[in-house]
Assembly symmetry: D3
Homo-oligomer: 232 residues x 6
């Protein structure tokens, strides 16, 4: 439980710290799976947050929203605190399949330079969102409309799929889903990711030449040690 | 429980009333989410009915089918009563993942001028269906074949995702899913939808200029009234 | 789409017609599965509505609620129109896991002679509800609290698991789940159910003596006709 | 794909081999989790097959059924080939939530000395089944009735949750679910299980005295080797 | 992302701060739903964490575990740091249905005075666990065994169902599920909960006398303001 | 339970028998749904194994893998035994959402002439896999990384969605999913599939001309026999 919304108060935190912009921009083209592996197989927001488009690869600073299900008033409150380079991350206090976000909100976010949306409920107007080139990762797609009747919070710690997202953490997302990197870990994560990319590049050439992971990683002895029997 | 199948009889109702054709045609390009909002956030058939294609936008009159799971005989019975401009809506008496519909049935429906299929079970031959340009919204895709061994009904009230669909109701479907509009509400729904479209168009320009929903909708005072704290 | 909430208006219908009280009372001890079979395998509200207790068998007249998810104001509105012998049936406009109902609302319903609750979202205070002897069938159990911020309707047609429930229909529920019987079909359903009970009683004695359904129902020839091979 | 139903024929295999009766009987009180561990963490039919009762512990020889979903004719065909000490295992060719089995079929199975049912679809009459003392493990409970319109097979290899069940394999089931033991492995499985029980008994006393698994299993060094940091 | 496992290191934190013991003990009999409401409808760990027993009501200090799926070595590591009055909270880095916990581990925890287990994967030996009186809330029940091959962490922040649990937070659990209260909020939560209990007690008497929530909460005017029509 | 891993041993079977290559190649363009129907509506691996691409149609010989969840060491072991024309089929001993396979492993498989992957867990690097033209059918897409810490088996019988896959069986996959054909049934399956294709071609022309299945299949009399009422 965070101090920010201690004693049940709803808050909108206007100012958050963000990671270094050049680091964030450098993380974008690396890919979510590689970043996830490089930082110790952490931060993946799970297989149920899917892109509505193919081919988008983004990184940005998390502005977080915690909403009542079926209510999108706090998304409006969050837009005001977004800055260029941010990614909006919307969660709900209980599971929701409401279409909380559509082309008008996307227009508003694009006008502020926001790079994409991570939605732990649903979006709608997906045909328009794709046409606008505004990238979205979402649990559901749904027409179901929302109200503006119950308060929530902006820029408090939230959680998706067992992973904690603090405001200002770095969001990396592509066709495989969404990975969160701790704000203060971003530079370290970039270095680790670049090392991994280089290592994968070298291995790719070997695999393409027909070499086996069994030999490259020394797995054959491991299997024999475990008593795995090789039968012809 | 409907009067039509009272006392457990299975029926095929050949003649149904339909909404005005020009109204139906005018609803197609508006989009399911807008229609849903315009009529009071009603009629959405839920996030689990997904299109197998992208970009299709249709509206048509519902011809409804209630089948035994794993049995597609009643789809054949329904085709005979379809007319140009209809949309076939298939449900089952219990949850089913059977591929009840494929390219042959689509050929038959296209020959009768049917505009699309809403399937609360599964379809197959999806590659062919996309190639044929026959739009489908379905809960599942599955090869699993069916039998023709148990009766059902055609043109009785059915229900998907807690929404009731009467024969002759108007089906509106696009990339966001499927919305049903009551037959007698169709003209009113069209008017409401057009009003909403115009309203959205005006707002879109404001949002693109950087104006905030928080101000446009007067939400800032609402949040303060509720005691939401704005923290810098 | 119902006429009652045409054009998007929310309504509370105070007076509904109910089935004959003696018929309803006679349906209670028959059991949901038997009633479902007797009326033509119809009206079952699906395997996801589960009792929170064991051994309860009830029948009563449906008072229906259609709520915004995460909001229980319409349950309060419904209580006023409940009469002794009713069963409250609560649905939401989109899927919800909120604990919309607890021991205080049960106290209120028991004070009005209501026989039980069918909840297509969640209940809480289950330990107390069991102690109070107030029977509940529900999709989920959840602590998650609700607000009173968005209107809905009372005594409009609703739908659960693809089955339509009109106000005044008869709800039959036991350990196997919930079955709805059309109000005007109730007397016919009772007769059919009694016939089935008698038939089952006769068969039970035969089965207990070791006779086979294969012979009793003449299924052996059917299997041979279909080409099923019996192999020793 | 089995030879038995090669080329798409449906078969009822009347005679199957079974494991030694004394071995089977000795496996019953050991418990499914222990047997599963003892044979190398194999054979568990997954967390979705749940008992409808508490406290039952059985073992028996599998008589297998492969049915069309929503059709229970092959259960009737299977009863004839059941012998005392058997456990009926029912699967369907596609996912099903139908209540394929109730108190009449249980009466018939009890008359033949069958020890229980494993159902990969649904059962009904659960209140009666508990009262009769006939143990059932099932994926769903549902009133939904079935037809007798489509053939299937009896005593062919079937599969649940990725585990293969051959006719005559030993089924062990308790509150934790269902485990299958290969017919020819049964004696070996019993010996292994008894060894494990003895080993667990010894450990239980140590744990009750406050000793730690970290020390008993030598895990502390493993953690340190992996670089896990212990922080005060 | 927590500082504690920054840069991907696995840690076992031996010493954590806990809330005041008398406060924790006083929270236990209040009930999870009431505590959740009292602190502002926060902290509920969702409807999928279910008790394996009925009637248990506990409160205790969270000792948290983050494990690799299918691996229970870190539970052993956690036991050493548990103290009387704690509740063990086990999560996995990805969704898991493994039976990570059984009667031996429960024996070990009981020997250390631990009050219960919250498991975001599965437990087994449920019959024994109930007999031992060790209360468990779990996502699944499963026989499936685990290995001890991959490190994890103890006493790092974890998350279940979108709620963050820090080591030393207070866990309240009963038949309705599990609620987490921030360690530093515990005394405030107890006061709020007692106020709510008193308030509910007063209302219960009114409801039992037939008074309506519609009147008690002034909801009738709210509905009329919203335009809800009351129809006779 | 297979003999191959009797008594809990893990095995890697290097040599398997395969079906005739020309038969396999001829099955590829027929389509999974047609093959499934032609062989008696068998072998479909269910609606949850979905392609990550559109338009791929393949057939090949199954090389099977049984892995510990969250561990991909046995995929490396399997690659060594793959031959041109094979399809790798990966299963886990319990449900898993781990991304066990990515572009490096695909590079390795393509170097050996493997035609595709059927994954009963998750893959990652989907953008690269599509770009490489390596076809994949998978239950999930996930970044979540795996370890190499626990043994499994290669080329043992495995099972997905209740269907058994023996090493060397023929895998047919397209946009509708995956169908398995028994190795020794392959030639028979091809003949049956070709007959069905010819039959469908003839029917397609009739349907396109507006003829009804109701007449073509003689279903009208069947419906009347069952007592279905046709109402105008």
């Amino acid at each position: 439980m965070s101090n920010l919304n201690a004693e049940g108060r709803h808050v909108v935190v206007r100012s958050i710290e963000r990671a270094d912009e050049t680091v964030i921009d450098a993380l974008a083209p690396i890919g979510a799976a590689t970043v996830h592996e490089a930082i110790g197989r952490r931060g993946y927001l799970g297989p149920d947050l899917k892109p509505i488009q193919t081919g988008a690869m983004i990184a940005g600073s998390a502005v977080t929203v915690l909403s009542h299900p079926g209510d999108n008033i706090m998304i409006h409150a969050a837009i005001e605190v977004c800055r260029p380079g941010d990614v909006l991350v919307v969660t709900t206090t209980a599971a929701s399949t409401h279409g909380m976000f559509g082309d008008l909100l996307a227009t508003s976010l694009m006008a502020r330079g926001v790079r994409g949306l991570v939605m732990d409920a649903a979006v709608r107007d997906t045909h328009d969102l794709r046409a606008m080139g505004f990238p979205v990762w979402t649990r559901h797609v749904s027409c179901q409309g929302t109200v503006k009747a119950t308060p929530g919070s902006v820029n408090v710690p939230v959680s998706i799929a067992g992973k904690i997202i603090n405001p200002g953490d770095v969001i990396c997302a592509d066709d495989d889903g969404v990975v969160v990197v701790g704000r203060q870990e971003a530079a370290w994560a970039l270095e680790k990711s670049r090392n991994r990319l280089a290592d994968e590049e070298a291995k790719r050439a070997l695999f393409a030449n027909g070499e086996l992971g069994l030999d490259m990683y020394g797995l054959r002895d491991k299997l024999l040690d475990w008593g795995v029997e090789f039968i012809d």
